[in-house]
């Protein structure tokens, strides 16, 4: 006789219950930071020595900033153990936190100084903004994905970066009230460079844009404004020698 104790029926009921659960369970994994401790300081030191300096990053403020910013506070809980590894990491919403070397290279490219005003497009986890904030007085950062922006701002505040202004908006229009900027760092690029950003770049200013698919960022583009002349330069952070035979 079929009774509720029948294991087949129990399994069936359980499976049915599972089916009726919402199908879009997705956790972002963003959580509060763990604070900074000696282990993290040591890991950062290793990161700077093994990934940054040996690859030719010589700009002192940049190296010092990388040494100070607690990168593990800017990654998801699940990726925290890998925070200081030599690779980008997923932060949800199809976005990544760049490899430490890329962040250092982008920072060095704009030749940051304390008196500079820098705009960042694409706050993400807030790590790049934190690195810039270690060096410059004013950092403005804009994030279009609301959840990411809020998380990035939380990471910045909980790590003590109060000189960063975060705006949840479409970075396409830049931040006109604070323009012109000495440098613009675009960490989340679209398939065209927004004309308003070019306009908000100070004469002689620099804009840096990474070009590459997630987990495979290899080259950066530098846009320089000199009067009406706008030139671009593709820079490859990873030295690549594709031709394997001797040049004839």
């Amino acid at each position: 006789m079929t009774t509720p104790e029948n294991p087949v029926i129990q399994i069936a009921v359980l499976l049915l219950a599972v089916m009726l659960l919402p199908c879009t369970v997705k956790a972002t994994g963003h959580g509060p930071g763990n604070g900074d401790n000696e282990r993290h300081v040591r890991l950062r030191e290793q990161m700077v020595n093994r990934q940054i300096i040996v690859r030719g990053i010589e700009n002192r403020p940049t190296v010092s900033a990388l040494r100070n910013v607690p990168r593990h506070m800017f990654v998801r809980e699940s990726e925290r153990r890998q925070a200081y590894m030599d690779s980008p990491l997923p932060i949800g919403y199809g976005q990544t936190i760049s490899q430490p070397f890329i962040v250092a290279y982008m920072t060095q490219l704009i030749d940051p100084r304390a008196d500079m005003k820098v705009l960042e497009i694409g706050t993400g986890s807030g790590y790049q903004a934190a690195v810039l904030a270690e060096i410059t007085d004013q950092v403005f950062t804009i994030e279009i994905v609301q959840e990411l922006g809020r998380w990035g701002e939380h990471n910045l505040r909980s790590s003590g970066y109060d000189n960063v202004q975060v705006k949840l908006a479409d970075g396409y229009h830049g931040w006109e009230e604070h323009a012109p900027f000495d440098a613009i760092v675009v960490t989340a690029a679209a398939d065209h460079i927004p004309p308003p950003l070019v306009e908000q770049l100070r004469e002689g200013g620099r804009m840096v844009i990474p070009v590459g698919s997630p987990f495979h960022t290899q080259n950066l583009m530098l846009v320089e404004k000199r009067g009406d002349d706008i030139r671009t330069r593709n820079l490859m952070p990873v030295r690549f020698v594709p031709f394997t035979r001797e040049e004839e």
């Binding site: 069936a12 049915l16 599972v18 070009v211 495979h216 080259n219 031709f243």
Partner: protein
């Protein structure tokens, strides 16, 4: 239960099982990428193989409880069809992109793989149990099984047309449940069991699981934008079409930095979560009409050169290039777009989304694949042929490495070249990426094409202009004039672009506005243009040899031999994302081999492998497993060119092979399974595979212009002979074992299943590396091995 009911139940369940296979392929194409199609075939094979092993282990118990077991297995098959889709939706959805960063994704991938195997396991067990129990009527049952399977492969295409994809698994699940009802007999509590089972599809129909889309697909990203919403959504045989609207979705791909206007906000049409096209209709925020926005991108180059009167736009998608061409007032535009579902949407249902572009008198829209259209119109001559943009901004991490691109092969360009008027041009725009691969492959292809047409001095026929993000390449039938070269200079200067290839290129001209980090790119271009491009292709770290119809994987650049060298320059994880599709295929292969050994082979050790000539048994059935699946997979990949769509190719090949090999198996029971018959049948299979490798596609090419139904029928008829003989080999082998080495039968089935499972992915990898010719060669070689092994298979006096 009568044997008629039993036969009908087999047909119905088989129809559902094969249809379900194609449904999962569609689901995985939407949530992930199309290369998981091969994983789905192996999932089905694994389920069937595990069922065979299970039967070998518990055959006596199953035979004793046959009347209860059969309806229960059908019910479980139905429940698992709808349940697996829901379970994967809730727990297992994995993102292939995160596989190398998040270990849990590997677990989720395995979970998905195993859960989707369940319907095939239960269905396969029910079918083989019927065969085993009632061997006397095997002919009828096998016929119903294969006819049902073939009908399922074709019927699902019709279901895709009329029903939304998420409800189809639940509707299909009703079929095995109906099969259970047919064979219910007088099983106790059957009505309670069937009522519970019916609750699953009912729940699935009321609350269908919509496939989640990878967060690394363009569609997902666009939905993260503020106030983004899906304006339209429809499922069909071509997959999922969605239109997304957001105030920050702007149309200005690789726009010149000199552009000072406001790029327009436009809706985007996505196909299976990937960018399909921008909908240029409407005028919500300052649409630039004169000149067209694309004239501020390198895509404007062909129109800066000449004034084409007759334009052919290939893979026209939502008509962006048609709109661009129209702004230059040509006399005639032909747009070729194989996605008929999208065509119907943009012409019949919502033409206003694209300003009724396709309904304008000077525009003709053809719903064919590029190659089909070119073959069907040998007489046309065009002034300009525009190909779709190659690649995407920032790259795609090589997720498309496994996808056949028949419009970018050497043979495709040759056909296009032959359709050009005297002043005609082919134009293709490529997103730049580093290290350079796509552009170099285009140049290598064109150089070889010109030399094949005995045209030397490629620099007079090829022109290219480079911006910060794209390179537009133009190939002209007639040499470019000096006036045209000056026009290109003026076009480039006004937009901060740099000429890349001009016959009279000047020093410093190539990177005045846009400097490259690695200037060796220019020397590569020069070598490919002026030098010995073949030796260059051989030495370059990436495979930039032209894609061909034999190896149509344009986006496959990594070679096995280059991996160790690349490893010196890149972190292993970074390297992985250089060609994710290729790496995923390798990971899938490892996983599949492990799963098949674990689920099919290991359990067989319980029954032991006894008897003589085990080596020959292994070789015979290993040859069949590899040969059949290599033949099937290569045919699916080749016939994408003929039939235009992967889903049509898969359905047609499955239907043809199942039907004909089933007929062959059925017919084989009338013949003696002696060595001579085996030898002759094997030799016929090998000869036919070799013949088909050489002549199938040329034969099909003659009917490329036929309507789709006629082409599907041609495939079914043409594939019948080899499939018929292949279908005989397996039962012949089993019959020889059944007389002398009966205990080897489960092992024979296990070896066949295990290698079939692995061969699905292995065939794809061989095709990537060496082309379809070698895959066919391996198939022929495997059957040759089977034929040789047949000489020593079974006892000395093999039974009849």
């Amino acid at each position: 239960m009568t044997h008629r009911h039993m036969a009908l139940s087999l047909g119905v369940a088989s129809l559902a099982i094969i249809s379900f296979q194609l449904v999962i392929m569609q689901l995985l194409s939407i949530s992930l990428w199309h290369h998981f199609a091969y994983m789905v075939i192996s999932m089905a094979m694994l389920g069937f193989g595990a069922a065979g092993t299970f039967l070998a282990l518990f055959r006596e118990r199953l035979k004793r409880t046959f009347n209860q077991a059969l309806p229960l297995l059908y019910l479980l098959c139905g429940v698992s069809m709808t349940g697996s889709v829901q379970l994967v939706g809730v727990f297992g959805e994995f993102d292939a992109f995160l596989l190398f960063f998040d270990r849990s994704q590997l677990v989720r991938m395995s979970f998905t793989y195993l859960v989707y195997c369940l319907p095939f396991f239960f269905g396969g067990l029910a079918v083989t149990l019927v065969f085993y129990r009632d061997v006397g009527r095997i002919g009828l049952y096998y016929f119903c099984n294969l006819t049902g399977s073939a009908a399922g492969a074709l019927a699902i295409i019709w279901l895709f047309r009329i029903l939304p994809l998420p409800v189809i698994p639940s509707l299909l699940a009703l079929l095995p449940i109906f099969a259970a009802w047919l064979v219910r007999g007088s099983v106790r509590h059957f009505y309670i069991a069937i009522t519970i089972a019916l609750l699953f599809p009912l729940a699935g129909i009321l609350k269908p699981a919509t496939p989640g889309i990878s967060e690394f697909k363009a569609m997902y990203g666009s939905l993260q934008l503020p106030d983004a919403r899906i304006m339209h959504e429809e499922f069909g045989p071509y997959g999922l079409l969605q239109v997304v609207r957001a105030p920050s979705l702007r149309f200005a791909p690789a726009l010149s930095l000199n552009f000072r206007g406001q790029p327009p906000v436009r809706d985007i049409l996505f196909h299976n979560g990937e960018y399909f096209g921008t909908l240029l209709g409407g005028d919500r925020t300052g649409h630039q009409k004169d000149p067209h926005l694309l004239d501020y991108a390198t895509r404007g180059l062909p129109f800066a050169l000449r004034r084409p009167e007759s334009v052919l736009i290939l893979h026209a998608a939502s008509g962006v290039d048609v709109s661009h061409a129209l702004s230059h007032n040509p006399r005639r535009i032909t747009a070729v777009e194989p996605n008929r579902q999208a065509n119907r949407l943009l012409t019949a249902h919502r033409p206003e989304w694209i300003d009724s572009l396709y309904l304008k008198p000077q525009v003709t829209l053809a719903g064919n694949s590029v190659r089909t259209w070119l073959s069907a119109h040998p007489e046309v001559r065009k002034d300009l042929i525009v190909l779709p943009v190659v690649g995407a901004f920032g790259g795609t991490s090589g997720v498309h490495a496994l996808q056949e691109q028949y419009h970018l092969t050497l043979q495709a360009f040759a056909e296009m070249y032959n359709r050009l008027s005297d002043e005609g041009m082919i134009a293709v725009t490529v997103w730049t990426g580093y290290p350079s691969r796509k552009s170099l492959k285009i140049l290598a292809t064109w150089r070889r094409l010109l030399e094949g047409s005995t045209i030397y001095g490629a620099e007079h026929h090829i022109m290219a202009v480079r911006s910060w993000g794209t390179i537009t390449w133009v190939l002209s039938r007639s040499p470019f004039t000096s006036e045209e070269r000056e026009a290109v200079r003026s076009f480039s200067r006004a937009r901060s672009f740099d000429p890349l290839i001009l016959a009279d290129i000047r020093p410093g001209e190539r990177d005045y506005f846009n400097q490259v980090g690695d200037r060796s790119f220019f020397s590569h271009v020069d070598t490919l243009l002026y030098g010995s491009y073949e030796s260059f292709s051989g030495d370059y770290l990436f495979d930039i040899r032209p894609a061909t119809d034999n190896r149509p994987f344009f986006f496959h650049f990594m070679t096995l031999s280059s991996i160790s060298e690349l490893r010196l320059q890149y972190d292993i994880r970074e390297l992985t994302y250089m060609e994710l599709g290729y790496v995923l295929a390798a990971v899938t292969l490892v996983q599949i081999v492990m799963a098949s050994v674990f689920l099919i082979i290991f359990p067989l050790f319980r029954v032991g492998w006894k008897g003589t000539r085990r080596r020959w048994t292994f070789l015979y059935f290993a040859g069949i497993g590899i040969g059949f699946m290599f033949f099937e997979i290569v045919l699916i990949q080749k016939l994408v060119r003929y039939l235009g769509q992967p889903v049509y190719a898969t359905a047609a090949v499955l239907a043809a092979l199942l039907l004909s090999s089933g007929a062959g198996s059925f017919f084989s029971s009338r013949l003696q399974a002696d060595r001579r018959t085996l030898l002759r049948t094997g030799a016929a299979v090998v000869a036919l595979i070799v013949l088909y490798a050489l002549f199938l596609m040329p034969l099909l090419d003659m009917s490329m212009g036929w309507p789709l139904t006629a082409r599907v029928l041609s495939v079914v008829v043409l594939l019948a002979p080899p499939a018929f003989f292949m279908g005989m080999m397996f039962p012949f082998g089993l019959r020889r074992l059944s007389g002398s080495n009966e205990t080897q039968i489960p092992w024979a089935c296990g070896v066949d299943s295990c290698l079939s499972v692995s061969a699905t992915v292995l065939a794809t990898m061989v095709a990537l590396e060496a082309g379809f010719g070698l895959v066919m060669g391996v198939a022929a070689g495997a059957y040759a091995l089977t034929t040789l092994a047949s000489l020593r298979l079974g006892g000395e006096a093999g039974p009849t």
